[in-house]
Point group: C2
Amino acid sequence: MLFIMLSQNKIEDAKARAVLFYDKAGLVLTSKEKQFIEIADFGLSDLEKMGLEVLVYVNTERVCAKELVMFPWQTCPEHIHPSKNKIAGKEETFRCRWGKVYLYVSGDPNSERQLDGLDDHRKYLQVVHEVELNPGEQYTIFPDTLHWFRAGDGGAVVSEFSTRSTDEEDIFTDPRINRFTIIGK
Amino acid sequence: MLFIMLSQNKIEDAKARAVLFYDKAGLVLTSKEKQFIEIADFGLSDLEKMGLEVLVYVNTERVCAKELVMFPWQTCPEHIHPSKNKIAGKEETFRCRWGKVYLYVSGDPNSERQLDGLDDHRKYLQVVHEVELNPGEQYTIFPDTLHWFRAGDGGAVVSEFSTRSTDEEDIFTDPRINRFTIIGK
């Protein structure tokens, strides 16, 4: 597994920038929540292209709700939430609150856009059927379903309603990816 | 069980009014969703005082997300989501998005406000410990936990993140209450 470090400065910059997106979407966060925004670069150290800014509202044994910020064309790489030992994997609904998000699932390829600017991640993609989500639109991903998503050119704010979030169980199709960001100095 | 009818006109008026609250909160709904806002008067035919306006975003076997509107001082009456046959009852997190909501749970009474204007419902209340929720604040109600809530004087918009919603299994402490609104002409 490759561990690439994201500097603390870059993390703080990304958090501050994410707060501006939540503001634009009209979503109110407490001061404490703003400090707890998580910055995920999937170990690729290329946050602008491949990453997510995440505020976890709640994550109990049964329910999770998050508010995601995606910078312009930022991508959450292809992955699956696997069922395991007869326990169903994570189920999640994405609801676009602000901006535009392109979600990719299995099905016929239906857009030329999805592979632009993905660099090396492109060759690992297995699902390229595009679902465009504008504010107020949503889509549910059931367990064991490959998917990935990226923001449009203005970025996006997306609510995620799901079962318990267990990031460590996600399986990514790009073998370079590590879900956990390692923080440097 | 008492069935009191809420007229179709009153329902349409309440839906239109709820849309204004979602707008004030900056939450975007599709045109179709605006038509599917549910108006619940709990069979009391006194919607302004005792009721909820509800948009269900998603309700699968495992996850539910709703956006609630409450008119000024409108109250959702005291109830519980019971566990049954070893299956855990509904768990729900309320997150205030706009306005102010007062949530009541078990504990020492800590406010003079909670019993004002509740009329006959007042005598049935069993929990009167107040938790005030302003935008960005939230609270999780686990199964088998009595609770009720009401909006402040400007009304409120509240996101609810939960396990599957099964309204028909809710148990209300006020014996006059029927969860299902009967629509008259």
